[in-house]
Structure formats: C-alpha cells, structure tokens
C-alpha cells in the first residue's frame, strides 16, 4: 500500500482548509427568505422604478437582479437613513394625495434582502420599466417647448438653467395642472415652473409646479385654477445633473411644458406664505396643498393649525431633502377659518445615519418658509379629483 509522510499530509490538509475557508467566505450566507424575483422586484418596480430604471435619472437601475445587487449596501444605508424613497413626510401618507412611501413590511423586505445575501429567486426575472406615459394627465391643452436645447458640456456635471417661455394666450387662463416632459430624462433632476412678472400682475413668480422625477402631476379639483395672466411668460428653472454613467459626456436636453386649462368659472388659487413662528389667517380659506422653499433642506419642519374653536390640525410634518422640493397635496381640502393660527416650527434634522449613508449638509433655518395654496373659504371643500 502506498504511503505518504505525516508532514506532507498535514501540509496538504492545512492548505485545503485554507482554500475551503476562502471559498466559504467568498459567498455571503443567504439568510433572506425574500428573493429579488418574488419579493423585491414588485416593490421596487412600483415605488422606485420611475427613476431607478435604465436611462432614468437615478444612478442605477433596480429593475434587474444584476443591476440591483452591486448597490445593495447603498440601498440598505439609504433606506435605514430614511433618505429613500424621497417622500419625507413623517406623518401618515394617507393625509396627502401624492405621497407614496414604503409600508413597514416593504421596508423590511428590502432591508432583509439587502442584508441577507441578495438571493435572486426565479432566474431571469426583470420588470419592464413603469410605463413611460409622456403626459400622465393626458395630452395637454397647450405645450410650450424650450426655445433651444440646453447642452451640458462634457466637463459640466451639475447646472441650473433658467428659461423664459412665451405664452400666446390672448386672455388670462386658469390652469388646473402644469407638467414637465423632460427631453433627456437621465439628466433632468428637478424643475420649478412659475409665472413671470407682467405689468399689473399681482401674481408674479407664483409657483405653478414643482417637478421632481417620479412624482406624477396632481390636477386641481374642479372649481379652482392657477392664474396665468394674459401675456405672462413662464419661468422654467431646471436643475440638470449627470449621474456617473454620463460623466464626461456632452448631454443635451430640450424639455417641454404642458398646460392643462381649468374649466371656468373657477376660484383662483392664491399663495399664502408662512414663516417660522405664528401666522394668523385674516380671511377664511381652504388649503389645497403646501410646499416648502426649494432651498429648504435637512430640517425637521412642522406646521400646525389651531382654529378659533380650539381644534388643532397638523398640516404637515416633514424633513425636506435637497433637490426634492415638491407640492404636498392634501387628500381633503383643509378648512382654515378666519383667525386660525398656523404655527411653523423647525429645527435641524439630527439624522441618525447608519454606516455608509452620506451625511447631509446642515440646514439653513432661515429657509424655513412654507407656502399654502388656498382658495376662499366656503361651506363645502372642493372634491378631490379622481
């Protein structure tokens, strides 16, 4: 019988143990009972897919297992930090018409999957990108194009462009919605559309739309409209941002703005500005939506209304993030009788960040300014649009 020396046997055994250990460590143990195909994909498709898709504005697609796995650590950090998904309302999502946060279970599924070995599940599962409906509200009544393309040279990563779009309406119009259709969605990061000053206009710089990717436009309910005076220009302020995929590449965009006319007659929506502290409402109004100063970020902000009868109602409690200024549309119009006191409080958002999450710059509390979209008070609040 052939023999080997004990020394050789021990050496070979140690080498094989080391090899075996290396192999074992090279694979994360799969502890997640949730798989990408069966559990994760349905969530990310609905809640993240508007941006995290091929050619989307986010820096990675999450709609395939191969696309999502390399980002699992980042996904986990951003979820635990509360940075994503970017619906920063602290209270119940049901209070607003356009807030689509994760449920507790969905959040847990994603975190468990990212920590638990990112198992793929059914092979080859992918989701089609959410339907790219160019105009989610249907064809606009009027479309205004940027006069020319905006080009970001290869050396530019981030740029804000302010453009003036001429309107040609021979009379003032009331608008039920304003939307933006990016020409190059991968670089259009956010936009503000407002009314330019006109002679005799009291509504200069009224904000018609705060556009962020993945946030479908919400139309005003019947009976209300944003005023666009005759001859007014639209001021479109677009922030362009290249993700790593487009770094060092020249990119161009020519976005379009869609206008949706309101049925008339209708009440004109007014902007009611609120600052830190207490504001007393001088005439009865109904609040339809609330939005922050676009420069406000990384603060905890709360607005509470106290009516003359003593009833209190939290209008919003949220943590605005840079680049995600949006309108929060109340599910039901909020009646604010004359004499209602609205108190705005705010403080820097003392984030509790997990390892790997990116810290945010400190808040500038002087930017704590909210705007309420209001119409005159009435006995019956307007119905929500379907």
């Amino acid at each position: 019988m052939a023999k080997v020396s004990p020394a050789l046997a021990v050496a070979v055994t140690i080498a094989m143990i080391a090899l075996a250990s290396t192999r074992s460590d090279a694979h994360k143990p799969v502890t997640s009972p949730y798989t990408f195909a069966e559990d994760v994909l349905p969530i990310v498709r609905e809640k993240c897919g508007a941006c995290h898709k091929a050619g989307g504005v986010a820096p990675m697609s999450l709609l395939t297992h191969a696309g999502a796995v390399p980002w699992s650590e980042s996904i986990r950090a951003e979820l635990m930090a509360g940075h994503m998904p970017p619906w920063q309302v602290d209270g119940p999502s049901s209070r607003f018409r356009n807030v689509r946060g994760l449920t507790a279970r969905e959040l847990d599924v994603l975190l468990t999957w990212t920590k638990g070995g990112t198992p793929p599940g059914r092979a080859g599962a992918t989701a089609a990108s959410p339907a790219d409906d160019p105009w989610p509200l249907g064809a606009p009544d009027a479309v205004l194009s940027m006069p020319s393309s905006v080009t970001l040279p290869a050396t530019a990563q981030d740029r804000v462009e302010e453009l003036r779009l001429r309107t040609s309406f021979d009379r003032a119009r009331l608008l039920r919605a304003v939307d933006l259709l990016p020409g190059t969605p991968a670089i259009v990061r956010s936009a503000t559309i407002s009314v330019g000053a006109t002679a005799g206009s009291a509504n200069a710089q009224d904000t018609l739309a705060l556009w962020v990717p993945g946030d479908p436009p919400v139309p005003l309910a019947a009976g209300a409209g944003f005023l666009l005076p005759a001859g007014a220009d639209l001021i479109v302020r677009i922030r362009y941002l290249k993700t790593w995929e487009y770094e060092h590449r020249e990119m161009s965009d020519r976005s379009r703005v869609g206008l949706y006319f309101a049925d008339e007659p209708a009440e004109t929506v007014r902007a009611l500005g609120l600052r830190m502290g207490t504001t007393v409402i001088g005439e009865p109004v109904r609040a339809l939506a609330v939005y922050p100063d676009p420069a406000l970020a990384n603060a905890q902000v709360r607005a509470v209304a106290t009516r003359p009868d003593g009833s209190r109602e939290e209008l919003i409690a949220f943590r605005p993030r840079p680049g995600w200024a949006r309108r929060y549309w109340f599910a039901e119009a909020v009646a604010l009788p004359r004499g209602t006191r609205i108190e705005i409080t705010g403080m820097p958002d003392a984030e509790l960040l997990p390892p790997g999450a990116l810290p945010q710059p400190p808040a500038d509390l002087s930017k704590i300014r909210l705007t309420l979209d209001v119409v005159p008070g009435a006995a019956e609040p307007p119905r929500a649009a379907p």
């Binding site: 192999r23 979820l79 049901s94 209070r95 507790a104 279970r105 959040l107 198992p119 509790l352 997990p354």
Partner: protein
C-alpha cells in the same frame, strides 16, 4: 515513523472540500443559512393585546441589553419587536382615523430603528445605539398607544 495511507488523506480532503460546496448549493435558493438571524422568528400572538405585551417585553429587553453593554445581542429583541410591529400593520385599518394616522408611521419607524439598532450593535457604537433606542422606544410607545383598546 508513522505513515498514513493515501486513502485516508484523500478521504479527509474530500470531506473538507465537500462541506462548503454543499453549503453553497444549499444557499442558492433562499434557504436559511447558518446566520442566527434566520433563527429568531417569533410566533406572532393571535390578539392585539398579546402583541402589545410582547412589544413591551422586547422594548425592555433592548433597553436592558444596551445598559448592560451587550450591544451585539441587541438585534435579537429589536428584530422580534420589528416582526410584531409588522404584524400589526394590516390591522391598522380597524383603528379610528386618528389612531391609524399615528400607528402607520410609528410602525415604519419601529422597523427602521430596529435595523439601525442592528447596525449600531454590530459596530459596538454605544452612543448611536442609545440614540437609536430612544427613537425606537418612542415609536413603540406610539404603536402601543394607537392600538390600546383594539382587539
């Protein structure tokens, strides 16, 4: 000099090589691995009051573990509380509107801060653990208050 047979050495090598390979095969579908996190599934009680009692117990366990400096074990009761809270989420619909408005975001916070407790516990970061626990406990208290009286 002692001599070993080639057959014995070969047998040993086969065992050593086969073990991780088998473990890897087993992990291809989403099976529970050796990570103990897969072993803490908690039976969810059938009634809301029982769930709330369990939540209070887990809350106290997390607090005591942090006080004792046993940060690496914090995740066990924290994750158990997370599972209990998630079990309440579909039942929030039976609450009065105001209680529901409070319960839903509080349950989400329980989940988020349970995961943060896990992360800070792994890192042994006591200061962050205490901050996360304060948020976790506050969220649990909100959940308990919202569901108090529900069956």
């Amino acid at each position: 000099m002692n001599r070993l047979s080639i057959r014995a050495v070969t047998g040993l090598l086969i065992v050593l090589l086969a073990a991780p390979a088998a473990a890897h095969r087993g992990s291809a579908p989403a099976v529970k691995g050796t990570d103990p996190r897969a072993l803490i599934a908690l039976p969810i009680p059938g009634t809301i009051p029982e769930i709330l009692e369990q939540l209070k117990t887990r809350d106290a366990q997390v607090r005591d573990l942090i006080r004792a400096g046993n940060s690496s074990a914090v995740w066990v009761p924290a994750f158990q509380a997370k599972g209990l809270a998630i079990a309440l989420e579909p039942r929030a619909g039976q609450l009065a509107p105001r209680a529901r408005e409070s319960a839903e975001p509080a349950i989400r916070r329980v989940v988020r801060f349970a995961w943060l407790l896990d992360a800070f516990g792994d890192a042994g970061d006591r200061r962050q653990l205490e901050r996360a626990y304060a948020e976790f406990a506050a969220a649990l208290a909100e959940v308990v208050a919202a569901f108090a009286g529900a069956r």
